[in-house]
Every structure is written in C-alpha cells, then in structure tokens.
C-alpha cells in the first residue's frame, strides 16, 4: 500500500524544483550578458532534471499509470505543493538572483540531510543533486555580494528584492503534515541557513530583515496568484491538445 506521506513529500520536492526551473527558464535569451544567460538556464536545466527524478519516483509509488509528465502537466494549482518562494516573479536580475540564493542555500542544507534518508531513492536523488546545488549556491552567493556591494543602482535593486522575497522564506521551516516523519530536521536547517544568509548578506553590505510577517500555504496547495499564471503557460499544450507528443 502506498505511503501517502512519502508520496506527497516526493511531489513537494518535485514541484518546488520544477517551478523554480520553469521560472529561471524564462530568462533564456534575456540574461544581462551571454555568460549569465547560460548560467541561469543551466541552473534551470539542473532543477528540471531534479524534478524529473522526483516525479519519476512519485510515479512508481503511485503505480496507477501516472507519469512524470502527467504530474507536471495535468495537475491543478491546488495540487501543487511547491514552496511559495520559488513561484515569485523573476522581477529584475537582482530579484532572480536573490530568489535563487535564498532557495539554493536552503536546498543545499536540506539535501545534505536527505542524502542520508532512510528512503534510498530520495537519498540517491539528493546525493546526485547536491553536486549541482553546490554550484548554484556558489554562483548565486557571488552575485548577491556583487550586486549588494556594487553600484547604488544594483544595491537599491537588491534592497527591493529583499523586501519582496523575505516574507516567503519562513514557510520552508514549518513542516507540512506529510513532512513530519520524513527524518528531516528543519529546525537545525533553519539555524544554519540563517547564519549562511546573514554572512552573505553582511558581505554584500545588506541586512537580514527582522520581525517580518511570513506567508505560508504552498506546501499544502494554497498558493499566491503567481502559480496560476505559471501553470497556465507550462500546461497550455497538454491541456489544449491532450496527449500531444513531438
């Protein structure tokens, strides 16, 4: 019999990486310079690759004919369990960079724990992905510092990005019901995460906001208005021409 918690947790990991991959992919051909255009789309590719591994695993758990594609293309907004942070708009380069940094710094710690999980498949996907996430974290950290400690304009954009995105950083650390027995210690991740983020923001001459209201809900399918727009675009072909292949 299927373990519902494991299944939902696998979908949560899959949805989160898919949606951030989809967001980053929109930069393709629009990056500020060619090298960074390639960097952000490479990160997108890694994230979509990770999401495929998680969706494939979810499909073997469900064992009812569901596939990685049906999970990605045929579920509705309320069924998606991604964190709210990753569905926030690309905004400008500063906002995209900060979103990536806030997520990668969390994902790096999460996958370090997950690679030792008692579930061998989740552990293997985490171990494999960790090599990629290490690049994402280093790259986005460097950019946060460059922009925060850069020109007046880049700094102002980074300040605005912090105001926009910080309210979406609390949710990661509050376990959803399906997450509670997955052997992940979110509290210890939170402590190390906050220190890492504080260190990088300090180096970027920026500050971690305090006492900010935090939005929640993504893990349980309650999303900001953003997700609907993303899915409309992402799922358009399969919803208009069901089963279409190329």
């Amino acid at each position: 019999m299927m373990n519902n918690n494991l299944f939902n947790y696998t979908l949560h990991l899959a949805d989160t990486t898919l949606i951030l991959g989809q967001r980053n992919a929109a930069w393709c051909g629009h990056g500020p310079v060619l090298e960074q255009d390639i960097a952000i789309t490479n990160i997108s590719l890694d994230l979509i690759g990770q999401s495929r591994s998680f969706y494939q695993y979810a499909a073997t758990q469900k064992a009812d004919g569901s596939t990685e594609d049906s999970f990605a293309y045929l579920r509705s907004e309320r069924e998606f369990k991604n964190c709210l942070l990753v569905e926030q708009p690309n905004g400008d380069w500063a906002q995209t960079i900060l979103r990536q940094f806030l997520f990668s710094s969390f994902q790096h710690l999460l996958f370090q724990q997950l690679q030792n999980n008692k579930d061998a498949t989740l552990a293997a996907i985490a171990e494999k992905s960790l090599k990629e996430v290490t690049y994402h974290l280093r790259w986005s950290s460097e950019w946060v510092i460059r922009l925060g400690d850069g020109t007046e304009e880049s700094r102002n954009k980074m300040l605005k990005a912090i105001t926009e995105l910080w309210p979406f950083t609390g949710e990661q650390f509050i376990p959803a019901t399906y997450e509670e027995n997955m052997g992940i210690n979110l509290l210890s991740i939170k402590e190390v995460w906050l220190k890492k983020v504080t260190d990088i923001l300090t180096e970027a001459t920026l500050q971690v906001p305090e006492n900010i209201f935090m939005h929640t809900g993504g893990k349980n399918g309650i999303h900001t208005e953003q997700l609907g727009f993303i899915l409309t675009e992402l799922q358009y072909i399969q919803k208009t021409y069901p089963g279409c292949e190329w």
């Binding site: 390639i38 960097a39 490479n42 590719l45 979509i48 690759g49 591994s53 494999k128």
Partner: protein
Amino acid sequence: MVTMNNIIADKESVYACLQEIADPEIPVLSIIDLGIVRNIQITDDELEVFITSTYTGCPAMDMIAADIRMKLSSLGFTKIKITSLISPIWTTDWMSEEGKRKLIEYGIAPPDKRFLIAKDGVDCPHCQSSNTRLISEFGSTACKALFQCNDCQEPFDYFKCH
C-alpha cells in the same frame, strides 16, 4: 555466450558496439569513455543495459538511450531494456584516460583534480599554458565551464570535476 536470433552475443561485442556511440553534445567521447554505461546483462533472450546520467537534467540522455537501442538492434537483439541508475552517483573519476586524451585533442580541457572548483589556471588544451582565466562557471553544457587562455587568447571549455 548466448545465441539468439542467429547471432552470437557476448559482453565484449556489446561493449565494442557501445564504444561506437558518441555523446551527442561532445561527439569526440563515446558513452563508454564518459562512464555512462555502468553494466550490461545478457539473459536468455533479453539484453539489459544500465546507464546513469551525468547531470540530472542532461538533455542528451533520451537521445543516448535511443542510440543504444538502435545500435544494439543492429547486432540482432530484439529485447533491449535500458535501465537508468541514480546510484552510485556519476563522477568524472569514471572518465577513461583515453577519453581525457580525446578531449584535449578536441579542444576541451579534461577534468583536473587540481581544479575541483573551477578557477584560473586550468591548462589550455590548445597551447598547454596554465596562464588561463575562468570566464564563467557555466559553459555551453552543464558539465563544462568557460575559460580563456591569456597566452594564446583562445577561449576553451573545461570539463568540470564532478
């Protein structure tokens, strides 16, 4: 050795055949050189090939699987199963010495343990100078970083340690 469909197949001939399949993005390397093929298993009437992806999102994997299927059916196999393994995790340590030599000839700097993190100084595959600089940690594919040689001025890709 197993006889099927009037062909005689052993592991060696299958490996020799797989050695001819090029990586679609770095055609100078075969999927054997890259360490993508982890194992093969020949049972009564089925051939199973175990492969692993380099990066999770490597877009070449579907094409590689299709190439394996096509190539091996030319050997006479009709039941071919391709199984993707996640674990053990692919690493550039599995790249053959032959593969590294071919990369240099092709103009790509091979993985170098002195540069686990891509940084200035990777040997230029064109003029062998180590007076080189990192342009971007992300190159034309996920597995490569972009460099330029300060001596011969040529840009080149570095196949990152992974």
